[in-house]
Amino acid sequence: MPENTQEGFIDQQKVLDNEEYSIKNTQSIIQKAVDWFRARSMFVLAYGTGCGAIEMPPIFTSRYDIERLGVVGVATPRQADILIVSGYCSYKTLKRVIRSYEQMNEPKYVIGLGSCTINGGMYWDSYNTIKKLDEYLPVDMYINGCMPRPEALIEGFVKLQDNIRNAKSEAGYIQYRENNAFYRANQEKIFGKNTTPTFEENFAGMNQ
């Protein structure tokens, strides 16, 4: 499939959305139940990297009250299931974002909020911000807009819940584990060797 064209990209999306190709059919009943529960309880680490962060307070407070969907904010990465990267990411921030992501327990998902995470947005020619978040972290849901309205973010959450419940596509954290070399190579491209510890370094000493 010609992946590097617009049409190829759309074709890929179609494949992902196709029921036949989804891994849903292979799910066991227990797995289905687990996924159902998982989708109803999302603990969010909202990392306010850019201006899009300003849309998050209304979501968590009484105006939009996203807790009715089972979405709750938490204080630390270790408690969180969802990482929201809300806007442009400078190199310096990205390093902290990656650290936070790697500290989260699986299963974990990433939401990229705003055009800046998708293609650089209005910072496309900035020397200090990344252009595609999914080169460095596996993104499960992109929400476009500059900045996206809270309704858009809610829709993103609902779609993500749907994806988790129906196991539509492979979750990002599995890709991150399996294709770790790809992500690390991209991270090292901008950080040099001065990046976060590798998986092996992280887990060294765990068994001692």
């Binding site: 590097n4 990209f9 400078s90 190199y91 390093k95 293609n119 020619d125 200090n128 001065n194």
Partner: protein
């Protein structure tokens, strides 16, 4: 207060509450300490730097504010772009530390006596300081990033916007 300063220095009134004083860089500390003792311009609110690449100089404006926050005094020094070095103002204004650190990172200016001139917002930056005008941002971005497909139909719309504005104005005037 400003009258007192006007007696001693060549102060230009740029706007009703904005004054400007141009000085040599070797008199910087001396004059600023005298200003802060003899007038109520006591706060350093900003250090602004402009890169005049045509004249081979950096123009630094130390912006001082009065205690009442009602008047501003810009003290301008011009230094060469090549050996850009200035004495630090840490002893007069502690907040200069972070401002100088920022200028060091963005323009490569050395502030003698400030020992915090290491990475600030840019970590592991190996290029020339990015706000110097010889730094080609677009070339840097094209070299270091590839863009997502679809970005290329993002056309420059400036000419079109201009044309539409002119058209709207014309039709308005015609009425």
């Amino acid at each position: 207060m400003i009258e007192f300063l006007k007696k001693h220095y060549e102060i230009v009134e740029k706007a009703p509450r904005l004054y400007k004083l141009q000085i040599e860089s070797d008199k910087l500390v001396e004059i600023l300490s005298s200003v802060s003792i003899n007038s109520n311009f006591i706060t350093l609110s900003q250090i602004a730097c402009t890169d005049w690449i045509e004249d081979e100089v950096f123009a630094l404006n130390y912006i001082l504010t009065t205690k009442e926050r009602d008047k501003n005094l810009m003290v301008e020094v011009r230094i060469s772009r090549v050996h850009c070095s200035l004495p630090t103002l840490l002893n007069l204004y502690p907040q200069a530390q972070v401002m100088e650190r920022d200028l060091h990172e963005m323009y490569g200016i050395n502030f003698r006596g400030n020992d915090t001139l290491y990475d600030f917002a840019l970590e592991n930056w190996n290029e020339i300081p990015p706000l110097r005008r010889e730094f080609d941002t677009l070339a840097y971005v094209n070299e270091h990033f590839d863009f997502r497909i679809g970005r290329e139909d993002n056309k420059d719309v400036k000419a079109e916007v201009k044309r539409r504005k002119a058209q709207a104005k014309e039709s308005k005037d015609g009425k």
